[in-house]
């Protein structure tokens, strides 16, 4: 395991060191990043999420330890020359991934009360799944599962912290008028959602 110590450093140094560490580590080596600056922690998390690098965060007081676990599937954009290459490298994306599509507030159909219980149980179990899904997309009534009073909100947050992208359908949000009640996830349109589904190797639809 490789450790990157960014304690005492101001932004953007922790992100630079994180990226350096990830580039230097062996392809399947776990990288642990120590961060004691909240702004940088949030930026590093965002960076890892956007680049689909799965990670976990442990916070003790003001110190956060971010652990990035990689498999040979994950590849980073390499910058071999270090200084000032102007050419634009195409991003290589890991291709194998699982996407969960949440389309209603219930799992399955038949009995609504049962379906609601099953959905809670589904999310409780989803956070334990290894590796975590690349993304969870919420559309139609499914977006309500991400609302501030949702019984599974904490699980959605946990997934997000582990590097799973959370996409919420903006049209659906506007339809239900719940724009102000979605504390987690990013707003997406059909194009993005369709691309996420298209790029998925497996789609789980509870």
């Amino acid at each position: 395991m490789k450790t990157v110590d960014t304690r005492g450093l101001n932004c953007p140094a922790p992100l630079i060191k994180t990226k350096q560490g990830l580039n230097e580590a062996a392809p399947d080596e776990t990288v642990q990043i120590l961060i004691d600056n909240p702004a940088s922690l949030s930026n590093v998390k965002r960076y890892l999420t956007d680049n689909r690098l799965p990670f976990t965060v442990r916070e003790e007081g003001s110190l956060a330890t971010v652990t990035v676990t990689r498999s040979e599937k994950t590849e980073l954009t390499e910058n071999e020359t270090g200084y000032c290459t102007t050419e634009i490298t195409e991003k290589k994306t890991g291709t194998r991934n699982t996407v969960v599509a949440v389309t209603s507030e219930r799992m399955g159909s038949g009995d609504d009360e049962l379906g609601t219980k099953l959905m809670v149980s589904f999310f409780r179990t989803l956070v334990l799944l290894e590796p975590s899904p690349a993304a969870v997309v919420f559309y139609n009534a499914g977006v309500k599962m991400a609302m501030d009073d949702s019984p599974v909100l904490d699980h959605i947050r946990e997934l997000s912290e582990k590097g799973t992208a959370i996409y919420l359908c903006t049209t659906c949000i506007n339809h239900f008028g719940i724009r102000d009640r979605l504390p987690a996830g990013s707003f997406s349109d059909m194009y993005q959602i369709l691309n996420v589904l298209k790029d998925a190797d497996h789609i789980i639809r509870p």
Partner: protein, 353 residues
């Protein structure tokens, strides 16, 4: 810290700001929330107010003249006081140009510690501000200083514009092409400089861009009947383009591969040198923006890089864009480029590809 210090006091102003690009501005989303409950004054002479998040306020005096009023100030972005003064003044005056106006007079706004920094530095900053104001034809006729640390400087500027020729971020029309007049990436270069990841010529290049007035751009906008424009500053290209799209009721489509970049910016972003402000701006834009799936991650973050004294983003009728671009190239804006297009309002206000 290795920096170029030209002033007589030899004091490095960058030593007064520790957090780099992380904390100079209130996050745009938070600011929008704070401002939404402020009552808007109702007066038919107010042509532009805060409702459309524009660069400056515009107030009609009579049928021939409207006042353009704006202010902006920030902590040091470079080591040398004189250069900081030049950049801060250029940035402040730019908001008048972005509205298509002609700047006339200004007031200094200065926060400066009376004990911790040599007072020569104060004079150097003011000298820079006055020199740039003179270049713009602006008279500085007063100001205000507060004892504060770290220092901050800028101008409150008043200009004029014909009430029928105000250029706003609400004036973009479907089909307009979008021209950006300066290369992007000053925030990333300044952060890279702090991290000692740049070489002097790259910083100098960025500084010369930040010191360049948008005067010629404003003149050309009037000549080519541009109605919609904004200048690119703290909210980044994406943030300002999003405000413009929302203000104008169109969707703005930007092709990041055609956006001019300062030397080294792409490589710095690729090494993780992405200031915190870019992440804050991303938080703001992602609610209304579609990022195409093939958008390069570094280019996406560069689109959100907070600019100091950035260029104008102008919307011009497609049949005029080639001529306008040619004139920009001939008048010191050699890197100006068409970077996108306004299209019929779609689900996303902004598309970055």
């Amino acid at each position: 810290m290795t920096t170029t210090v030209n002033g007589p006091a030899g004091f490095d102003l960058l030593s007064t700001v520790e957090t780099g690009g992380c904390s100079a501005k209130i996050p745009p989303r938070q600011l929008e929330e704070l401002l939404q409950d402020m009552p808007l004054p109702a007066d038919p002479r107010i042509l532009v107010d805060i409702a459309t998040h524009d660069d400056a306020g515009v107030y009609k005096i009579n049928d021939e003249t409207a006042l353009v009023i704006t202010t902006d100030f920030f902590p040091p972005v470079v080591s040398d006081g004189y250069e900081f003064g030049l950049i801060a003044a250029t940035n402040s005056i730019s908001d008048v140009y972005a509205m298509g106006g002609t700047p006339l007079v200004a007031l200094n706004i200065m926060m400066f510690p009376s004990t911790r920094i040599p007072m020569e530095v104060y004079k150097e900053i003011l000298r820079g501000g006055h020199d740039k104001a003179r270049e713009a034809g602006v008279s500085i006729i007063g100001g205000h200083t507060i004892d504060d640390y770290p220092p901050k400087y800028g101008l409150a500027v008043i200009g004029t514009v014909h009430p029928g020729r105000v250029i706003t971020n609400a004036g973009v029309r479907e089909g307009d092409e979008l021209i950006l007049t300066k290369p992007l990436g000053t925030g990333i270069i300044l952060a890279g400089h702090r991290m000692k990841m740049t070489i002097p010529s790259q910083l100098e290049n960025a500084v010369s861009i930040m010191k360049q007035l948008n005067a010629r751009g404003a003149e050309l906008m009037q000549k080519y009947s541009v109605r919609g424009a904004t200048d690119i500053t703290g909210f980044g290209l994406a943030g300002h383009a999003l405000k413009m799209a929302r203000g104008s009721g169109v969707t703005v489509n930007i092709d990041m591969k055609s956006v001019p970049l300062l030397d080294c910016v792409y490589s710095l972003a690729d090494q993780g040198c992405i200031p915190g402000a870019a992440f804050r701006n991303l938080d703001y834009t992602e609610g209304g923006t579609r990022f195409t799936s093939d958008l390069d991650y570094n280019l996406k973050m560069i689109a959100h890089d907070a600019q100091t004294s950035g260029g104008l983003l102008m919307a011009v009728a497609p049949e005029k864009s080639r001529e306008l671009l040619k004139e920009l190239h001939e008048s010191g804006h050699g890197e100006a480029a068409v970077i996108g297009k306004a299209i019929r309002k779609a689900e996303a206000d902004l598309v970055l590809q």
